[in-house]
């Protein structure tokens, strides 16, 4: 790898219809056990009949640049990968749940086999040279895009141009890498 990568995800809530194809696709791709999920849909209704608004968005691990799960992991199972993603080494994980408590985004769960689990940005696919995750690939509205913020392909800029961009809980100071377009 000639340069360091920094993967992030851009999520266009204007396109998202909240269908959950991303959830099913992730579960199949990553063999997520029954009753758990690595990504999910948040659906927010505001107002009263008939003055209403509805926002749907797909969420997952934020792959923070300053990740409390990494800081708080006593065994270094949670770690930064060279591509800007946060990963879990299952062999080192003791299932102590320190990361679950530390994560401001509630992105993790304990796998029935005893380790912490969460979205990996489909690390295996990235390593395989694909520029999609299972969820970005399946999404019928193409509202999810995996981007490399260190690349100069202009993809992230093109998507964000002229749009209001939100991140979740900037006050947590974790430098999250999911960007929502509203």
């Amino acid at each position: 790898m000639s340069r360091e990568r920094k993967y992030a995800m851009i999520i266009d809530t204007k396109r998202c219809v909240g269908c959950s194809a991303c959830v099913y696709a992730c579960k199949a791709e990553n063999n997520v056990p029954h009753g758990f999920c690595r990504d999910w849909i948040v659906s927010i209704t505001k107002g009263t009949f008939p003055d209403l608004s509805l926002l749907n968005r797909s969420e997952r691990c934020q792959h923070c640049e300053d990740a409390p799960c990494v800081t708080n992991c006593p065994t270094q199972a949670s770690h930064y990968q060279g591509d800007g993603t946060v990963q879990i080494d299952r062999d080192l994980c003791t299932g102590c749940k320190a990361c679950l408590a530390a994560c401001p985004y509630d992105a993790r769960y304990i796998h029935p086999q005893g380790f912490a689990d969460k979205c990996s940005f489909c690390s295996h696919r990235i390593k395989d040279g694909l520029n999609t995750t299972a969820c970005t690939e399946v999404c019928p509205t193409s509202c999810l895009t995996l981007v490399d913020l260190n690349s100069n392909d202009g993809k992230a800029e093109a998507l964000m141009k002229g749009r209001e961009v939100k991140i979740d809980k900037p006050h947590a100071g974790t430098k999250p890498k999911l960007f929502w377009l509203v």
Binding site: D12, C19, Y24, A25, A28, W40, V42, I44, P140, K166
Partner: protein, 724 residues
């Protein structure tokens, strides 16, 4: 500009479902050992989805003989590499532990009826001899084939050759039949499936009850998202704040049952303010003056008193449609069997589109005519000597309404049903009549993958393998581009089941009837068809789909438009309808109102399910195991109902729902209406997951309002109240 969401806004819908749902059993697949993220497939098989009728191209990812993942085919015009949630969970059907295992034959033991497992030979012989007997004694016209799904084509061919010509499908009178007839009357052709609509390029899109986004037809939703991103002005007419309404510039929370009054008023404004495309209408339409006279009374003020949509909004919507015309589109909908005036309502939509001049224009109606074109060298001679085709009593019914077959069966005019892939007792409304008809039958056969309710009433049940285990005929259609696609087995039929593909079942019957030459081995048949088009099966199996360009979607410069109507023009006023005693221009008649204390029951689709077809799918059921009844927050509170509690429904005729349904108190619906997803509340205990989960809308629909033009069943004139 980076800003933040506030914490209390966060409600994890999906994970809430996960945490709160009780699951029956565990993952039935149990495929992988630990630590198997991102399994690499041994092979990827391109095939066609069957989770709904859209029929997207999918890639089945197979590892150690098992399908573990389904993705959208990149080159298939219906998927473009994408897939909806249902298609993504399609292997939940393949590995459903409740699948039918063997042929079943009804028998009576000690006065009690039960099924016994039978061999294919015994079951097939029984059906063949029974049909022979009916054919000889009473005539093959006493037999009806009901079907839904792509696999039915083999049975249709077989039956035609045998001499059975009575085919019926609930997809007609219970779904889009009225729309097709209305567009034929107006434009000379139906809207078709997948619909010929240029949504992606629309600049102004009027949705009347269409809930795109919850209605998850893959490419239609892709197109809708593209339109929304491009700034399309969406206007959503719906008693419920649908997902589509949330993307809309205007939401018109219409009083249900009054849609036709609204559309007539939009026509009125376009004519009154001369906003319609005058050149287009002059060149291509007839009946403008009749139309003008026919909607003279449909003022926005009059429409307000009926629909609850204020007059200014109606004028604004009409002006918006006109401003962006011809890139304005009034969506014709799909399931239109609502109130019994459905042909006329669809006619009004067709007329509105005509006035906008959007025919064969970017962003408007497109006419997808050019198929890929794979000829069929196998001649299937139609045996017309032995039977006459039943003719519907409804003048404009180009197909026989399923409800009419039910009626005629009760009268004794049909003696036998062969039911392929359609759960009739859960689709036709008026369950009592359906069951009465079934009772009156001498002999009934059901072919299905799962023990759907209808199979429980059959004399012989034949288990079919799923779409992931079989070949079907070639899919030769068009969605903007003509294509031919193949359905082929991703895996061998599951060995612990004695199920067969439809083509093989039809082949076995054909052999009994001396028609074997109609069913050569399936690969030979497909290859011969493909060879006739200069293609071959090997290439087709590798590629999955072949695509051509269609240069005729839009009107070419100087192209004279032609319409296959009696006048050769778009018929704003229909002499054809008038000659049968119907209104030549759609008129509005009021529908029944809510009885006091009752709420009109409307229903629709959800992204995770295709009605009852997927209710037993464990993968899909993980995120949506049951349906909910939406009721307005204030209405619910006034009635003392609690969000999340379970209630029985009781309809206007006192019919009480078999199972209870969870209440969802929400601001997103009018106070006089309740809404639920169709297809839940299954009553056959053999459907172990779906059994008694949620409630059935069909069960509550005891009142059918029949469309006098084509016999469709208005299903939304039913009302419910609640009981703990």
């Amino acid at each position: 500009m980076v800003s933040s969401y506030s914490r209390r806004d966060f409600i994890k819908i999906s994970s809430c479902f996960l945490a709160s749902s009780a699951f029956v059993g565990v993952n039935p697949i149990g495929l992988f050992a630990e630590d198997m993220d991102g399994v690499l497939a041994d092979k990827v098989v391109p095939t066609i989805c069957e989770l709904c009728f859209w029929r997207c191209g999918v890639n089945a990812h197979v590892k150690e003989g098992k399908v573990f993942k389904l993705t959208g085919q990149q080159d298939h015009p219906l998927s473009n590499g994408k897939l909806c949630p249902r298609g993504t969970g399609g292997h939940g059907l393949l590995y459903d532990p409740d699948r039918l295992k063997t042929p079943l034959i009804r028998e009576t033991v000690n006065g009690k009826q039960q099924f016994r497992a039978a061999s294919w030979e015994e079951a097939i012989t029984l059906i063949a001899r029974k049909f022979d007997q009916i054919k000889e004694t009473e005539g093959a016209d006493k037999i009806v084939l009901f079907s839904h799904g792509f696999g039915a084509s083999f049975f249709k061919r077989l039956f035609k050759a045998y001499g059975i010509h009575n085919f019926s499908a609930p997809s007609y009178a219970q779904c889009r039949g009225a729309r097709e007839e209305a567009f034929k009357l107006t434009f000379g052709h139906g809207v078709g499936s997948p619909e010929g609509l240029d949504i992606a390029q629309s600049k102004c899109l009027l949705l009347i009850g269409s809930h795109l986004g919850e209605n998850m037809h893959n490419t239609a939703v892709q197109d809708f998202a593209d339109a929304v991103s491009a700034g399309c002005k969406v206007i959503a007419v719906d008693p419920r704040f649908s997902v589509a309404a949330s993307k809309a510039e205007r939401w018109l929370p219409i009083k249900p049952g009054t849609d036709l009054a609204l559309i007539r008023s939009l026509i009125h404004v376009l004519l009154e303010e001369n906003l319609y495309d005058q050149k287009f209408v002059k060149d291509n339409c007839i009946g403008l003056e009749d139309l003008r006279a026919g909607v003279v009374d449909a003022t926005p003020e009059e429409a307000y008193s009926l629909t609850g949509i204020d007059a200014q909004t109606i004028r604004d919507v009409a002006r918006d449609l006109a401003r962006f015309a011809p890139a304005s589109l009034v969506h014709p909908g799909r399931h239109v069997a609502w109130y019994g005036d459905d042909t006329q309502r669809s006619r009004a939509i067709a007329i509105l589109n005509a006035l906008l001049g959007n025919y064969k224009q970017p962003g408007g109606l497109i006419h997808q005519t050019e198929k890929y074109g794979v000829p069929n060298p196998y001649h299937f001679p139609s045996n017309k000597k032995t039977a006459v085709k039943y003719k519907s009593k409804f003048p404009m019914a180009s197909k026989v309404p399923s409800n009419e077959i039910v009626e005629e069966t009760i009268k004794g005019n049909f003696k036998s049903w062969f039911v392929y892939g359609t759960n009739l007792t859960e689709t036709l409304g008026d369950q009592k009549a359906t069951l009465e008809a079934i009772k009156a039958l001498d002999f009934m056969v059901a072919v299905d993958v799962l023990p759907m309710e209808v199979t429980g009433y059959a004399d012989v049940v034949l288990p079919e393998v799923t779409y992931l285990e079989r070949y079907d005929d070639l899919d030769d259609r068009v969605y903007r581009k003509p294509y031919v696609a193949i359905r082929q087995p991703a895996v061998s039929p599951l060995s612990h089941l004695d199920a067969k593909p439809g083509h093989e079942i039809a082949g076995l019957l054909a052999k009994e009837w001396g028609l074997s030459e109609l069913f050569p081995p399936i690969e030979e048949y497909l290859d011969q068809r493909l060879q006739a088009a200069g293609l071959d099966l090997k290439t087709m199996k590798e590629k999955g789909v072949l695509v051509k360009e269609d240069k005729h979607i839009y009107q070419a410069p100087g192209e004279q438009l032609q319409f296959r109507t009696p006048s050769g023009k778009i018929e704003l006023s229909s002499a054809n309808l008038q000659s049968h005693g119907f209104d030549s221009v759609p008129q509005y008649t009021k529908h029944p109102e809510n009885p006091p204390g009752y709420y009109r029951l409307i229903y629709g689709r959800v992204p995770m399910h295709t009605f009852g077809r997927t209710a037993n799918n464990r993968i899909l059921g993980e995120l949506m195991p049951e349906n909910e009844l939406w009721i307005n927050q204030i209405t619910g509170q006034d009635l003392g109902l609690i969000d999340g509690e379970y209630v029985h429904l009781i309809n206007q005729e006192g019919k009480k729902s078999v199972s209870k349904i969870k209440l969802k108190l929400t601001e997103r619906i009018r106070p006089d209406v309740v809404y639920m997803a169709h297809g839940f509340g299954h009553t056959d205990p053999r459907l172990k997951f779906a059994y008694h989960r949620g409630a059935s809308a069909n069960e509550m629909i005891t009142q059918l309002t029949i469309d006098p033009i084509m016999g469709g069943t208005g299903l939304k004139n039913n009302f419910v109240t609640f009981s703990r």
